[in-house]
């Protein structure tokens, strides 16, 4: 037990205490400036009836719904391509992974330019093909898809890396046996590769969902939650409540709601997929 003491203390100080403190403060009206006063479940009632926070919850679900499976699919596809004897594959692997290690602020600024309605790259390219210019980030129709597109693009790198590592650890003899039995490449992919990738898929899915639910910096830079709250997310509302409105107790309640969301999603996924054991 002594050997785990450092890790235990680290978890206690940086995770345990803040989580419990947040839970306790979520039942108060703590505003940083004055002593917290107990206000029961009022913060939770306020959060669940606040139309903007509810919009944030919906937007977060939509964002996660589109970014997670799409990015996972693309990442798997790229990983399969990069798991071959492709020339310059190290370059391609690096190129795909670069968005993951680039500061989101820098990424968002580049995308701000790409989405610029008058001088942006996207409208220039579309204009070349005769497609009319769009206001990607200030239109209630296009703002969310634009943010989702950046989220997908940015998230591919890490997922690809995990899938690539998993692919390289798959047993070769199974494929050899399948080939001897006459199984096509497609059949091998669906009957061998995908089932064997289940633990990796479970890990990628859980971490991706958590990451999608924590989307913040992209929103902060690209849209500020607008227009008309169409791109606001749960984390962004938590940030605004705590740091712009001084409603720390309320922000804690919103954080607990987010935590419960993630917990339920993870448990549901674990149950649906039989966990990360690879059983099926």
């Amino acid at each position: 037990m002594l050997m785990v003491a450092p890790a235990f203390l680290h978890a206690l100080i940086w995770i345990g205490i803040p989580v419990i403190a947040a839970f306790v403060l979520s039942f108060t009206n703590y505003d940083v400036l004055t002593q917290p006063r107990f206000n029961g479940i009022q913060n939770y009632l306020d959060a669940l009836t606040d139309p903007v926070f509810r919009r944030g919850m919906l937007n977060t679900l939509v964002y996660a719904f589109f970014t997670v499976p799409v990015a996972m699919g693309i990442a798997l596809l790229i990983a399969l391509m990069l798991d071959t004897q492709l020339r310059a594959r190290a370059f391609f692997r690096t190129a795909v992974f670069i968005p993951q290690v680039t500061a989101t602020i820098a990424v968002a600024l580049v995308w701000l330019w790409i989405y610029d309605p008058r001088n942006g790259l996207l409208n220039a390219v579309l204009g070349f093909f005769g497609v009319p210019a769009q206001n990607w980030l200030s239109s209630t129709t296009w703002a969310m898809p634009s943010v989702i597109a950046v989220g997908i693009w940015q998230g591919i790198g890490l997922k690809m890396l995990i899938y690539l590592a998993a692919l390289q650890s798959l047993p070769k003899d199974v494929y050899e046996a399948a080939s001897v039995d006459g199984a096509s490449k497609t059949r091998q992919f669906f009957s061998i590769t995908l089932p064997l990738l289940k633990p990796a898929t479970f890990f990628v899915f859980v971490t991706s969902v958590i990451s999608a639910f924590q989307a913040f910096d992209l929103i902060y830079i690209l849209t500020d939650g607008g227009p008309a709250n169409t791109t606001t997310m749960m984390t962004y509302e938590i940030y605004k409540s705590a740091f712009r409105e001084f409603r720390v107790g309320y922000a804690c309640a919103q954080s607990i709601i987010l935590f419960v969301f993630l917990l339920l999603l993870t448990l549901a996924n674990r149950r649906l997929n039989g966990g990360d054991s690879g059983r099926h």
């Binding site: 037990m1 008058r118 008309a228 705590a242 001084f246």
Partner: protein, 427 residues
């Protein structure tokens, strides 16, 4: 060493109690009011949202603070630079951690919330009469009649227009009310191939909250009652101040999609608007980006029933929990002096808060700053309630719901009033 479940839970419980108690004990309300009568000495911190960039740093630390230290050699000032967008976060985290800076820059409208919660210290009334201030300028520095801050720079929201476009359209005077504005904007709107290539009026290049407030004040409306406890903007004047944007969008003379992108020349400079809501710092931008337009752009104060311009700005205040209150007070007084105010204004193209500076070379050489100073009697400020920090965040997204057609102007204002009433009710 063995960790039982009981010892684990005990540790967690003690830790939580310590964390919660830590949060509570850092509250400035529990500290004694800063006493500024002691010796002017010690280390103080200054959270600064002015003097941006390397030039600003050199101006503040290489010039102003050297002057300050000549007078107060025993004071050591550490400057924490931030931008206006992060100022609120810096203050929040400072308060939560018990490391509230001794001297802070605050925005217009921020004094009532911080003074109400006793986060900032009152200043002697004598500082309000030390220099010549327009009374409108000092209004946002007070809470319950007490002075809590000294204004440094002002940023007014005014209307700018292209004189050459007016001339081309044969328009000889600037609009005096909203009806005239609508008519002029329609005349100035240009369509080519069924597509609007120039809007007559661009209200969306400044923050929608501030734009709507300018129109509200110009329509003789008010945000809150004098004591800040009653919402007054849910009036016909408040609704009309939002409806005017919808009407102009319906006319085709304003477009939510046509606004100035961050870091780019304004729509007025690009010729995609003929009239726009802007900030007095536009003049500096014109000099840097479009010197050929300097003489082609004019300004006016718009009103419907009451000419009004919005006055934003930056004020300097003293933390109520400063451990060296005399030094902090001395720095506040210094930063509110004409020397510091003029340098800060010049560095960012702002309006100096002290009226006597209207004869300075800087003001005389900047027509938009001079214009703003001349019209300070028409200036109105946002805020006015201790719940402002919460309410201000909700205004723009709520008004946008009407702009993008999700609800009517009346519904958006009603929703906003509900949010504001809830926030005030929580005080």
């Amino acid at each position: 060493m063995d960790f039982s479940r009981r010892s684990f839970l005990t540790a967690m419980g003690l830790g939580t109690a310590a964390a919660v108690a830590g949060c509570a004990t850092t509250s400035p309300s529990g500290s004694s009011a800063a006493d500024p009568t002691g010796p002017v000495e010690g280390d103080i911190t200054f959270l600064c949202a002015l003097f941006e960039g390397a030039t600003g740093k050199e101006t503040l630390e290489g010039n102003l603070l050297k002057q300050f230290n000549e007078k107060y050699p025993d004071v050591n000032v550490t400057v924490d630079y931030t931008d206006y967008g992060s100022l609120n976060e810096k203050i929040t985290t400072g308060l939560a951690s018990g490391l509230m800076p001794d001297v802070v820059t605050l925005g217009v409208g921020w004094i009532p919330p911080f003074a109400f919660k006793k986060a900032i210290a009152p200043l002697p009334e004598s500082l309000a009469t030390r220099y010549t201030y327009e009374e409108r300028v000092l209004e946002p520095s007070r809470f319950d009649g007490t002075l809590y801050a000294l204004p440094m720079v002002l940023d007014t929201r005014i209307v700018a227009y292209r004189k050459d476009f007016f001339e081309e359209a044969g328009i000889t005077g600037t609009p005096q009310n909203w009806d005239e504005l609508r008519e002029v904007a329609k005349q100035l709107t240009v369509k080519e191939g069924g597509k609007v290539t120039r809007v007559g009026f661009d209200p969306f290049s400044i923050d929608l909250r501030q734009c709507w407030e300018t129109f509200l004040f110009g329509n003789s409306g008010e945000l809150f009652s004098a004591d800040g406890r009653q919402v007054l903007f849910d009036s016909p004047e408040g609704v009309a101040s939002l409806q005017i944007f919808l009407d102009m969008m319906a006319d085709g003379s304003a477009d939510f999609a046509v606004s100035t992108e961050a870091g780019q020349p304004t729509t007025l400079q690009q010729g995609t608007s003929a009239i726009m809501m802007t900030n007095n710092s536009l003049y500096v931008q014109l000099q840097q980006q479009s010197p050929e337009l300097v003489d082609k752009i004019g300004t006016f104060v718009l009103g419907n029933t009451n000419p009004a311009m919005l006055q934003g700005g930056t004020m300097v205040s003293q933390s109520a929990s400063s451990k060296n209150p005399a030094a902090a007070r001395a720095l506040v007084e210094f930063l509110g002096s004409p020397d510091a105010v003029l340098v800060a204004s010049e560095q960012r193209g702002s309006v100096p808060a002290i009226s006597d500076l209207k004869d300075s070379e800087y003001v005389q050489g900047n027509p938009m700053v001079a214009f703003a100073l001349e019209n300070l009697s028409k200036a109105r400020s946002e805020g006015g309630t201790p719940a402002w920090m919460e309410i201000r965040e909700k205004i723009k997204p709520t008004l946008e719901t009407a702009i993008v057609g999700q609800q009517t102007a009346q519904q958006a204002i009603d929703q906003l009033a509900g949010i504001a009433n809830d926030a005030i009710g929580r005080l």
